[in-house]
């Protein structure tokens, strides 16, 4: 219990039930005995682009794709994120130079990794000193407007990685299938789903409701607090809290899907960034084959229960929250 708290619990805000403060799977870092949200304290995020392309993609095209991806996050109305392209650099997207650099790099040891985001963090303050994104030039890439067969869409992957750069962790809003050649996405409703769409697919260029809720949760604008609402409650199994359950809210009017996780030993969860109105609430375990994409496996993430729905329509108020949603799950 104490260990779990040390791992998960960072800060607790005590506030009115109508104005919950936060909820989403976010990145964090440990500062002493505390863990703090990994986020940029100053905007805009200033970044460089490595002046080196890869086969079929020039450095200027990389810069344009990255610019579009940042702009997609920057224009979310419920968030106050912003960015600024500083210029091209000869530096690789690697740590230690104090600059946020994005670009292609050849990392043969990182097999089966399309791209990744790194942070250099001051462990005494939790401040982000720099963050870099590399795209693995071992793969075939494209920036074609409609996508290109047998190549990965750079803008889609950049949008995902820039979500991480902002502090978002992975979303579980997607389904996969297993086949010879590995796991493949059947469908996803979040750019932050950890597995990429197939080559040639450009669906990952568009943020979904789950992504929008997440970025608003980390960098809330006035409209996020004023116009959005939240659902909170507990997931329990045999009377005990469930850690790591994926709870999804489905807006009956807008058809938006937004997810959150139960993240404490009492199974409590909060899903913020929801449009006001009636919602259906569904709870499911994480893919047990993919837990490490979301959580440290040393945590006792509960995956032994069946997906199920809450038996009431949950109405989310504008600028407030609906609490007390009790989800009682049963073992497989």
């Amino acid at each position: 219990m104490r260990r779990l708290a040390a791992l998960l619990l960072t800060a607790s805000f005590v506030g009115a039930a109508s104005a919950p403060s936060a909820a989403y799977l976010k990145l964090g870092t440990r500062v002493g005995t505390r863990t703090v949200t990994l986020k940029w304290t100053q905007m805009p995020i200033r970044y460089f682009v490595t002046d080196r392309g890869t086969a079929g993609v020039s450095s200027a095209q990389v810069q344009q794709a990255v610019l579009r991806s940042f702009a997609t996050w920057d224009t979310v109305p419920s968030a106050r994120a912003s960015s600024e392209f500083v210029g091209f650099t000869l530096a690789n997207p690697s740590q230690g130079d104090g600059a946020t650099v994005i670009g292609f790099q050849n990392r043969p040891e990182l097999d089966r990794t399309l791209g990744a985001t790194s942070f250099m963090v001051d462990t005494t303050t939790g401040a982000i000193l720099e963050s870099d994104i590399f795209f693995n030039s071992a793969f075939a890439w494209s920036v074609a407007a409609q996508g290109e067969a047998n190549t990965f869409d750079l803008e889609s992957i950049a949008l995902h990685e820039i979500g991480h750069l902002h502090g978002l962790a992975h979303s579980a809003m997607g389904e996969t299938e297993l086949r010879a050649g590995g796991r493949r996405v059947i469908a996803a409703e979040a750019v932050m789903f950890p597995i990429a769409f197939a080559t040639g697919n450009i669906a990952g260029r568009t943020l979904r409701a789950d992504d929008v809720a997440g970025i608003g949760d980390i960098y809330p604008s006035a409209s996020f607090t004023r116009d959005m609402g939240s659902i909170s409650g507990n997931v329990t199994k045999s009377g005990k809290g469930v850690l790591g359950a994926h709870v999804v809210a489905f807006d009956l009017r807008t058809k938006k899907l937004v997810g959150g996780f139960s993240l404490s030993d009492d199974g409590s969860f909060v899903i913020a960034g929801l449009d006001p109105g009636p919602h259906i609430v569904r709870v499911e375990p994480l893919d047990d084959g993919d837990v490490e994409s979301f959580f440290d496996l040393t945590l006792n993430i509960e995956v032994n229960f069946r997906p199920q729905f809450y038996d009431k329509i949950v109405v989310v108020p504008r600028g407030g929250g609906t609490s007390g949603v009790e989800l009682k799950v049963v073992a497989k």
């Binding site: 960072t10 506030g15 919950p20 703090v36 990182l110 790194s118 001051d122 992957i157 297993l178």
Partner: protein, 184 residues
């Protein structure tokens, strides 16, 4: 409002960062693509600057308990991205992190004379946990192995998937070696 609620800010500590776009491999590919498969206990984690001093990596040394592929040798050493030197921590999201004393089955690759690395960044790490009730060693996560040629949806809460004991996991690895991907 009538009552106050505590809202927890949901964050994960730095070692828990999981944030990389991966191409997940099928289990047989992980087995076939690894030169060394070893069960062991982490003896040492040593962060160091990379050769070009552009990043911090961590060199992990494992006391080998048993080899399922490759070996032999008393210890195995491999490199994972990220680590902490002084007050500065370099985190590559998605990279596995280890603590001394941890047990795991590790799927390692190496190219040329370089230090080995984990298959697929984190896909080649199967942690071993002691079941507090039975005392048995369980391997997590469960193995996701295609049962046939047709795609098979991965269903959350699938009743057929179970965490394997260490012995059962080893048998599964041997079975996968005997029937590699694409050989069905």
């Amino acid at each position: 409002m009538r009552r106050l609620i505590i809202v927890f800010v949901v964050v994960l500590c730095a070692r828990d960062l999981r944030a990389t776009v991966l191409l997940p491999a099928e289990f047989r590919e992980i087995v076939a693509g690894s030169q060394v498969i070893v069960y062991g206990r982490v003896a040492e984690v040593r962060p160091e600057w990379s050769e070009d001093r552009s990043r911090i990596d961590t060199i992990v040394t494992v006391d080998a308990g048993s080899y399922l592929k490759g070996g032999p040798g008393g210890t195995v050493t491999f490199r994972v991205p990220g680590g902490q030197i002084g007050r500065y921590r370099n985190v590559m999201v998605g990279a596995p992190a280890f603590q001394p004393g941890e047990e795991a089955v590790l799927f390692l690759r190496a190219s040329g004379p370089s230090v080995a690395h984990v298959f697929g960044l984190s896909q080649g790490v199967f942690r071993v946990r002691v079941d507090p009730r039975t005392g048995r060693r369980l391997v997590i996560p469960p193995v996701l192995m295609a049962r046939g040629d047709a795609p098979e949806a991965v269903t959350r809460g699938d009743r057929s998937r179970r965490q394997l004991s260490l012995d059962a996991f080893a048998a599964t690895v041997r079975s996968a070696m005997a029937q590699p991907a694409g050989a069905r």
